[in-house]
Amino acid sequence: MTAAEEDRQVEPVAGPASRQPVLSVRDLRTRFRTPDGAVHAVNGIGFDLHEGELLGVVGESGSGKSVTMLSLLKLLPMPPAEIVSGQALLDGEDLLALDPARLRHVRGAKVGFIFQDPMASLNPVLSVGYQLTEPLRTHLGLSRRAARRRAAALLEGVGIPAADSRLGDFPHQFSGGMRQRVMIAMALACDPKVLIADEPTTALDATIQAQILDLLQRLRRERGMAIVWITHDLGVVAGLADRVMVMYGGQAVERADVRSLYARPQHPYTRSLLRALPKIEGGSRGERLASIPGQPPTLVRAPDACPFAPRCAHAFARCHAENPALAAVTESHEVACWYDAEAGVPRAA
């Protein structure tokens, strides 16, 4: 381990208090061109990510969580995907405006990615050691031997025993949880400022899930990096995140401090999501869990109305005619809704 690395570990974690965001995304719009017309997958997403902060991005399948994050590094297949507008500032550089060569220097070096399915996300015919040393050699210019030493240290760091001897192994020789640890080690190889974790625990069973959560929390404390955590599991977010962005139909419908979100959920969608969670106490046996009627939107229509309106119990005329923008409720809580759920009346225009 280098001296610089040791320094970083004893450094106190910079909390969300430091106000200059590491990553600042504005008005991101991504479309997919399909034979049946354009699919508006991401419609004007924006967020700030501060150093050491963990932003939970919550939403159901197809809400645009992954597409948003993949758009930032242009990791979507283009075509059919196209980024229509937006800005993503990382260190004062707009990622969306970078040419492919410059973007490569961001991918894996400044922004690390962890994907959902660790089996499919690792190359089956290349050894784990080879795949781990790739970013080290590409971005840090390490020699083969130095990269190998570093790779072993990385595997050790994510809790893989006998790391040195496992470098020559192939992904199928690891268990599911171990594979995800390899993915994490790979994403962290070049000490990225931002880590994007796209449902990293969804494919794992509950015990392993808890281990991976612990591991990422520890690494975050040690390295002080900012994390975007994409999930559809509100329970995971509650225990992990500093701030939460709730997405629906390719839009952010609510953005808040984690405490504030759970204490005072504003958007009808968020409220129904929280009601749909099983409770350990309180709920009587045999009681059915609340569900949200209707289907998620297909996103073929341009976003000219509230995407949740067709499923919303409180929807009124305006909801079908105008798309609400995020507006502050309190200092740390924003919601995009024409209806004031707490007061039970439409918001003043």
Partner: protein, 337 residues
Amino acid sequence: MTHYIVRRLLFAVPTLIAISFILFALLDLAPNDPTGQLPLTIPAEAREQIRESLGLGQPFHIRYARWMEQFFVNEPLNLIEQAFGIEIGDSESRLRVRSWATRSPVVDLIIERLPQTLWVVGLSYLIGILIAVPIGIVSAYRQYSWFDQLGTFVSMIGFSVPTFFTGLLAIIVFSVALQWLPSIYDTTHRVTDLASFWLQIKQMAMPVMVLALFNAAQISRFMRAAVLDNLTQDYVRTARAKGLRERVVLFIHVLRNSLIPVVTLIALGIPTVFGGAIITEKIFRVNGIGELLITAIQGADIPLVQTLSFLFAVLIVLFNLIADVLYGVLDPRIRYG
């Protein structure tokens, strides 16, 4: 791995014995007469004597056993003697598998014809692969581009237009109209200097390219499909997310995976190289194995047909094993115990 190969080879023995029996029986059941091609003036008794002399008077099982002995014992012994210049036992009186038509040993005939076939058909296979693999990769990477459309078009032509058509077309264009290339392959031609080497290239050009087009059409389609299949895999996204160059993503990550099925396909196709290309050899008068086989079939030269077919069977079994072993070498997920 060694254990696996030995086991597979042992399993191949009963398979091959069964194949040899079926071949022998089928050819024996086929209505043919080795004297059928002889002049009608030859009396029936003489014909009967000829048949006797060919060993046809004996019952089926005796003839089959004799063939087995000749093929599996006598011929290998003979090959060893020739290779090392030694003499094992009584080699003069040892019976060899002989052609009914020419009375010369079948194995000698094959060895005589093999170089032409290997040069023409083997080279066309090699050129086909060298053309097909890059075309398949680019076609898949730039799917639906003009290159891909053109590649698809040419593959479809190579695939669906038979070689007797492309071969004749090539002869009409390059031999008749342009008079650039000879239409007949001269087997007796010897390469001694630059000029004769150039003539050799010219006479090989057409048969090789006609067959190469056909081979390339198949392999490039297969390669394209394999690359397309892998390009959409999650690990490709991971490789890009690591900031690797597109070249590295394509040639290390995607290609390594895509080559697994293609290499297997190529290995399985090698026996057909030895089998020759009957039609193409016939059109360009290449004196190869395919030509030998078709002449033997026409002349009811049963020992020659029998031996050639059985050798193809051996090659197919062998290259199936090689393909399986290659698969295990290329794909670490497959382990043979």
